[in-house]
Assembly symmetry: C2
Homo-oligomer: 592 residues x 2
């Protein structure tokens, strides 16, 4: 029996037609000798009916079917009686009167029911991912992902980008995250690395004159995983030559707007807001601010530098800062609620969180007594404090203050319902610092990556104060997530050498790790720059999900395991021998 239609594609316009359907038994009901089955395929459900009047032997066969059996059925589409129409089902006005049936395969009772919104342990879903994928919400997300990839490709194709595949077996360049390594059989003792991104190859494609490149590329990072990380992930990888940063950003805005239009039907206003890194950190305590609500942080260091609150004054004297957040209308928070903010602040490194309640024109709280009326007046003005507000203060170094108040801002925003979940608020964050000082390693590390171009006017700081250099880098931020990031790249050998030097590479190290790139820069490298979009995360946001695993057909757990195939796993000794490696598990200390 050759399938003629998808189950969910049938409607009143097919009444009278004989159709053949292939699908799975969603549920069955036997009502007085008449068998009703909801048949499911990837398009949806349809009710098929077995009745002695028209089904003949098919009824007997159909009766053997259980949930998740795979059926092929032939039958006539008829309109249902008015009273049996089901408005909750897209195909609810019709049903199919079965005249022939073939059971294509049987099924055991599945470990969970195939429907949306099931509340079961995620590990069970991952172990039986092939059943989980039958659920409509999973199918919908995977189709959205497929569609999103197509929109990216169509746009890039129309705009003169060439798709190029770059190697997965490549060289280890341990700067940044840990590499996954692949032992070489042909070259004993040597290793390939899986790419953390196609960065170097895409730059070499620009040296190669391809001018506009893209790839939806698999990337790998052997890091300790969080909910929004996977050991292998997908990025839409883009590189261009001869464009300015503004031109590239404009083009990428157009691309992203089209993505949201074609997948969600949403119009995204352009141009996107552009925020400097300094502003983003200053106002929102984050380089990926959620701009769907205000609740901005205010620096009050100047107002409290000499005040009677000792911790404020001493932090400022020590080079730190004091900032505040006005939680509008939260003046009625209980003492317990205010106390609970202390451990929250501590989670982000804060040593405490001072608070002041504004009630009936009066300021209340432990620190109020140390403030002069003039200071209170100045703070009232700066923080726009009114009756019913709570003012929250963090005093520490810049980073801790940003972390504490930035996260507090998000928490309060969520709790007060300030966030309009239907909104998509994009922004570019620009002018990132090129280098950050790593206290542990006692050296500068690249904030973006070692190939990021410094702003022309800051290059001289390489010799005096590398931390001052601003990068020609830009992150695309959406609703508090970084969904893309890129930069203009260094394309002159001397600048790249300065950069490696600033990162603490010796000439020999730079030569050994990146000699081929330095050499490439000497053969006519065009000015170039690019961006990479986090594809999994974009799909997650498009799908309205909060977990990357929901957007990936076969994801890994937080301990980098595939519960379905049980990977990783042991291998045969012979395989290791061929690769010239041995397992060498270190005994935990004390067990040796």
């Amino acid at each position: 029996m050759m399938k003629t239609h998808h189950c969910g594609a049938l409607g009143k316009e097919h009444v009278g037609e004989t159709v053949v359907l292939n699908g799975w038994v969603q549920r069955r009901r036997d009502l007085g000798g008449v068998l009703f089955i909801d048949l499911r395929d990837r398009s949806g459900l349809i009710q098929i009916v077995f009745n002695p009047d028209f089904s003949g032997e098919a009824l007997e066969t159909g009766d053997k079917a259980r949930n998740e059996y795979v059926l092929a059925v032939k039958g006539k589409v008829v309109e249902r009686d008015e009273e049996t129409k089901n408005p909750n089902l897209a195909t609810g006005e019709i049903e199919v009167q079965v005249t022939e049936i073939e059971i294509l395969n049987q099924a055991k009772n599945p470990p969970f029911f195939i429907e949306d919104g099931i509340e079961i342990d995620e590990s069970l879903r991952l172990k039986y991912r092939y059943l989980d994928l039958r659920r409509p919400e999973m199918q919908k997300t995977l189709w959205l992902r497929s569609k999103a990839a197509k929109v990216f490709r169509d746009y890039l194709d129309e705009n003169g980008f060439i798709e190029v595949e770059t190697p997965i077996l490549t060289k280890s360049t341990p700067e940044g995250a840990r590499d996954y390594l692949v032992p070489s059989r042909v070259h004993p003792g040597e290793f390939f690395a899986l790419p953390q991104s196609p960065q170097i190859f895409k730059q070499l494609l620009m040296v190669g004159g391809l001018e506009r490149y893209y790839q939806i590329a698999r990337c790998f990072r052997d890091e300790d995983l969080r909910a929004d990380r996977q050991p292998e992930f997908t990025q839409v990888d883009i590189e261009t030559s001869f464009l300015t940063q503004d031109q590239l950003q404009d083009m990428m805005e157009e691309l992203v707007a089209r993505l949201f239009k074609e997948t969600k039907g949403v119009d995204i206003p352009r141009p996107f807001q552009r925020l400097t890194y300094a502003d983003a950190m200053g106002k929102y305590g984050s380089d990926k601010p959620d701009l769907r609500f205000g609740l901005e942080l205010k620096d009050i260091s100047d107002l409290v530098a000499n005040c009677g609150v000792k911790v404020f004054a001493s932090v400022i004297a020590g080079g730190g800062q004091v900032k505040a957040l006005n939680a509008k209308g939260c003046g009625n928070w209980s003492r317990k609620e205010l106390d609970d903010l202390q451990p929250f602040a501590a989670r982000y490194g804060g040593k405490g969180l001072a608070w002041i309640q504004v009630k009936d024109g009066e300021w209340k709280g432990p620190i109020v007594k140390f403030l002069t009326p003039e200071e209170i007046a100045a703070l009232t003005e700066r923080l726009e404090a009114e009756d019913g507000d709570v003012l929250l203060f963090s005093a520490d170094n810049k980073k801790v203050v940003a972390d504490v108040l930035g996260n507090l801002r998000l928490k309060i925003g969520r709790e007060l319902g300030l966030i309009d979940e239907s909104q998509y608020k994009f922004a570019w964050v620009v002018d990132f610092p090129l280098l950050g000082y790593d206290e542990e390693e006692k050296r500068y590390v690249a904030e973006h990556h070692p190939f990021t171009r410094p702003r022309e006017e800051d290059v001289h700081y390489f010799d005096t104060d590398p931390g001052q250099i601003r990068a020609q880098a830009y992150d695309l931020v959406l609703n508090g997530y970084e969904v893309g990031g890129g930069s203009m790249r260094i394309y002159k050998r001397d600048v790249q050498e300065k950069m490696f030097q600033a990162l603490g590479f010796s000439k020999e190290e730079a030569q050994e790790k990146f000699g081929f790139l330095l050499e490439a820069f000497e053969y006519g490298t065009p000015p170039h720059g690019g961006i990479a979009f986090g594809f999994d995360r974009l799909v997650m946001l498009l799908a309205g999900r909060t977990n990357l695993r929901e957007t990936i057909a076969f994801p890994k757990t937080a301990s980098a395991t595939d519960l379905l195939t049980d990977a990783p796993g042991p291998v045969e000794e012979k395989q290791l021998e061929q690769l010239s490696i041995k397992v060498a598990i270190k005994q935990p200390a004390g067990k040796a």
Copy 2:
């Protein structure tokens, strides 16, 4: 200066316009104080002119430019004088009179000239791949590849296929080629494997009800490389549910025909020829026959079973066969040419190659005297022997005869110019044997892979003569290359278990390696089947190349090395420690 046009896109219609171009210096000529530069970008070349009359200071700057310098120039498009027009250049009717110039980057003299058809060592090209990629023929091939991917995607998208990404970090299932392994840091002593294909995942997607899947997928095989193999390669991976083999083949024909139409403008006649494996081996001595010419092998075992040529008779008595090839019109081959065929035959395992020249109505050659007139008459008829022909005979077991005469057929076809290089001759080869007996391992191995569905009517042979089972498998063959291969898959647990048993797996082994798949078959697996196209090879054939490396931006050498980045390479001891492995290089025997 903001680029306005591509160099190669300019034509007479732009005369009078002021344009800005970005590109590389292809060559420069100084003629009496006037400077001519051929400027190149990915679209082609244009002549730009610096003349004291209109260039001002730009002439001085332009004069510093050398080959492969990167320039931005502004200037007016003018028509060339009639006598200076260059009909060999697409833009040869015009030139650009430069008024402004910026040298965007300098270049050392490149190690080879950036033009088509250079004859230099390939290893130099691979080391400087970024320069090699600037050559027009490389750009053309990469664009063709990008375009081919788009045609695949467009067709599959229009036909209801969903693109799904499957894992690269997966489980080692050592059946077939060697796996690349990836040590796990989180699970000491355990390993991921890079996929040889997404086979199991695409089948699980069918179990998951996605019905039509595709992916342009990277695959990995750690094998000893030949000219047409790469350690990582790309396949267009396709799987469908509920289709018959014929339906799937029809759809794939339509897809391939569209690919050739849209990339080459060629109409491929359909339906494609379908040949059984037995016929292909019998007539062409190959399961991927080049059908652009005839020169078929003829079985003459019946005619010579009792003849006076002892080697013929004894081979047949021993279960072998004798086949012949009529090299039409080669009767004038010299004795030396005929003798040279002996080592050729030996290369394919042949112990010799008997020959007979037909000249002036007479048969000549060492074996003629052992044949009766009746035998000669019968052979004349079977082989359609005429004056001027040479008959070539191979007597051995089936495999050797096929190898010797199959390769001889190709050699003669090429040498006699029988092959029309402009033709694309597609065919399906079907009815492959399911299992082949591996003399070394003393067991059956899967000819396609262990998930291939046997023909229904042959299943009973599992218990009696597994070598007899024909598979529901099909290869797509083009001009002597296998460009795709697929099969209907097993979808019932009991059949899959029989298959594993035939392959010599114990129940425990089958469970350990493929338990999750066997279990999946119990939860309502639909009938399914698919195909994979060798994307690199298809692009190679589309581009008219003979080496896969020409179709890949950053390929590896035959010893699996990337000459550009120098991968694989040594890694830091710390990295290995984190992965709980050690290098353990075996001393070659005798050195221990």
